[in-house]
């Protein structure tokens, strides 16, 4: 018989008991996390004709449309000398990452209801596993960005080194509301209809197709309450360098809101996850 590397453990199950081993459990179930993430990535483009090319096509076409609509037709200003397409793509990258995390992660618990009702594991690994899929698509989009920048001859400066930080922020901004929604959807399926709506509206109220500088200065701070604003600004700062200075008070507001939502998301998820199997 194989000797397990997992130590014997003593466990108490009781109503409403906060599980002190929860975070240790997540570590213990890390393999399940990776295998669920791998599963989602592996099956994502199965039985499609062009496969991974979809990850190229969608953001590219969106970029072209936005550049034409906002840049050429609406004649919105760009930032500094940055080509409008690069401005749009620098906004589209974090937006796509955050919105796909929000929509996939919030539905993830019910799409995996088979698992939830038949086996135990820390449920929080399900929404986090979907983040990996979004990151793979993000990686592909990043390649397009490099191509677009090379096409326009845009050379990034040292700011680009901080891009990974903003990627992490984009994930955190999305995962907070996503966890909250994932927990709520288990109880109230209404949220299945609310989340796509939020994403649809969010695309236009967030500075994806236009620059944040378009918003009047006196409204800038209030506009930053939408946390994705801070992340998009951060991306543009990192990619466009000196052309897109970062508005720090707004960024701080965005990050505060994001931190609050992250806390709320984790808190709500942890509080309700023990009842998931009752409701699903």
């Amino acid at each position: 018989m194989i000797v397990s590397d997992r130590p014997s453990q003593r466990l108490i199950l009781e109503a409403g008991r906060a599980d002190r081993q929860y975070w240790a459990d997540i570590w213990r179930y890390r393999e399940l996390f990776f295998i669920l993430a791998w599963r989602d990535v592996a099956v994502r483009y199965k039985q499609t004709v062009i496969g991974l090319a979809w990850a190229f096509v969608r953001p590219f076409v969106t970029m072209v449309v936005f550049t034409i609509v906002f840049g050429k037709l609406a004649r919105l200003p760009t930032e500094g000398d940055a080509p409008y397409a690069v401005l749009v793509f620098a906004g589209l990258l974090p937006w796509t990452l955050a919105s796909s995390i929000l929509s996939d992660a919030s539905n993830s618990v019910i799409t995996n209801s088979q698992l939830v009702s038949k086996v135990y594991f820390p449920r929080i690994i399900i929404p986090f596993a979907t983040v990996m899929v979004a990151l793979v698509d993000f990686g592909v989009s990043l390649l397009i960005l490099i191509g677009v920048m090379a096409w326009y001859g845009v050379v990034p400066d040292w700011h680009i080194l901080l891009l990974p930080v903003f990627v992490v922020l984009a994930v955190l901004v999305a995962i907070g509301p996503a966890l909250w929604a994932a927990a709520m959807i288990v109880k109230y399926r209404d949220f299945r209809f609310i989340i796509p709506f939020v994403i649809q509206v969010g695309l236009y109220v967030s500075p994806v197709g236009f620059s944040t500088k378009v918003v009047p200065p006196e409204w800038q701070l209030l506009y930053s309450v939408n946390p994705i604003v801070g992340v998009i600004d951060g991306f543009r700062w990192a990619i466009l360098g000196g052309d897109s200075p970062l508005y720090l008070p707004g960024f701080a507001v965005s990050m505060l809101v994001a931190a609050g939502m992250l806390w709320l998301g984790i808190h709500t998820f942890r509080r309700t996850e023990r009842g998931f199997a009752d409701l699903i």
Binding site: R6, Q9, L11, L13, R17, E31, I35, K118
Partner: protein, 428 residues
């Protein structure tokens, strides 16, 4: 070693269920009802309660005041009727459900097997699914790797191990799923019914595997309807009834207790009475004439129904067979089908032996009613005989024909062997 590895104290689990009050064909009434339902759900949501479908909400205890202790290396079976709380208990012990009351103490690494093939993904290959399913059941990658050949061997699908499982036959799929599950090795193992599916030969292999597990000094909790398997595998039995633990002791006594509770449980039920008649008791009988709650597909349906009639000639007995969705799937009437009305006065025991049906696995029930000559229902008992078909394998292979598959509830049996006459010459 005789230390306690599982200790359950005053364990209770409450569920809230909704009922659909009868459907209204009048638009106005239906609107009022749905508005009322919406208002109730909105109030529920504001109070943070879960949304329950239905017009009436009821609480019920699936488990109540359950206490027991299990020592290291013990192999214990949990037996009871459908709805006695067996699966709920296993789900609480395996941390899927949270107890409403009481507490459980577990010492040791736990794995539970409530279903085979949990998380299998259609698009992935057999090999990939072994790793996926293994991880879901709690095995590490190394453990799966170490046992990989054994698992494939046991399943007998090595030729198709790199084919997506959606291309598998149902039998191959089931065997692969069983095989991963059968190689789960933990200190404490919970097994629910799952190994009781598949063809006879595969079942035997699974049971052999279970007894090997049981004799290897690990703690196993085993839920089954298969009393023969229970008796062979375990020495201690816990009997649940209506969510309460009614017996805990040697397996022979537990089985006796369970069988006795089957026959007694029905008699004590009070179903009320109609104007001229009363259905007093109703049982499904096994081949030995003992009350049972499981039906073996393809065997005669033996029912025993006790009825009382008063001053009413010509009453007939009617049966409605219903599936898990409560849809009627069969009907029998003694006055119409057999022209045998009940005597007008007294207490009668009716014994019916209905033709065998090859039912799909799942839950069923018989509604029973007495009807007057004018087909007016006198006394009706809904859900009088609930029963279950544990496994249904029409072809004798590892294929479970389930109700939930959506192919209906009847496996159609051939009257004579399938004949195929080819009209064109075979291609070379």
């Amino acid at each position: 070693m005789s230390d306690v590895v599982i200790r359950a104290e005053k364990l209770g689990k409450k569920f809230v269920i909704g009922h659909q009050v009868e459907y209204s064909a009048i638009l106005g009434e239906a609107l009022v009802r749905s508005a009322r339902g919406m208002a109730r759900r909105a109030v529920d949501m504001l109070r943070g309660r879960a949304v329950v479908e239905g017009d009436e909400v009821e609480e019920f205890w699936a488990l109540r005041d359950v206490d027991f202790e299990i020592r290291r290396g013990e192999v214990v079976s949990i037996i009871g009727h459908n709805g006695a709380g067996k699966t709920t208990l296993l789900k609480i012990l395996s941390r899927i459900l949270e107890p409403t009351l009481g507490r459980v103490e577990l010492n040791g690494r736990v794995a539970s097997l409530l279903e085979v093939g949990t998380g299998f993904h259609q698009e992935l290959t057999g090999r990939e699914n072994i790793f996926l399913n293994g991880a879901i059941l709690g095995m590490t990658r190394q453990e799966v790797l170490a046992r990989f050949d054994e698992i494939v061997d046991f399943s007998g699908v090595e030729k198709f191990i790199d084919t997506p499982v959606k291309r598998y036959s149902v039998g191959m799929y089931a065997r692969l799923a069983f095989s991963v599950a059968a190689h789960l090795e933990t200190e404490i193992l919970f097994v629910d019914e799952v190994l009781a599916v598949g063809d006879a030969e595969f079942q035997k292999r699974c049971l052999d595997r279970m007894s090997a597990v049981a004799s290897a000094g690990r703690t196993v909790l085993f839920v089954s309807h298969n009393l023969a398997a229970v008796a062979a595998l375990t020495r201690r039995g816990i009997v649940l009834k209506g969510g309460r633990l009614i017996f805990d002791g040697p397996i022979e006594n537990a089985i006796a207790h369970y069988s006795a509770s089957l026959s007694k449980g029905k008699v004590s039920r009070d179903w009320g009475r109609g104007h001229h008649s009363a259905i007093i008791s109703a049982d499904l009988l096994d081949a030995q004439g003992m009350p049972t709650d499981t039906y073996e597909p393809g065997t005669p349906f033996n029912l025993r129904i006790e009825v009382e009639t008063a001053n009413m000639p010509g009453l007939g007995l009617e049966l409605h067979l219903r599936d898990a969705n409560n849809l009627p799937v069969g009907f029998y009437s003694s006055s119409i089908f057999s022209q045998t009305p009940l005597p007008s006065q007294g207490r009668h025991v009716c014994t019916l032996s209905l033709q065998p049906l090859f039912l799909a696995s799942g839950d069923y029930s018989f509604d029973i009613s007495t009807n007057s000559l004018t087909i007016v229902v006198d006394h009706a008992v809904a859900n009088a005989i609930p029963f279950r078909v544990a496994a249904s394998s029409p072809g004798g292979i590892a294929y479970d024909f389930k109700q939930s598959l959506g192919n209906g509830v009847l496996a159609m049996q051939l009257a004579s062997p399938l004949r195929i006459d080819s009209r064109s010459p075979e291609p070379a």
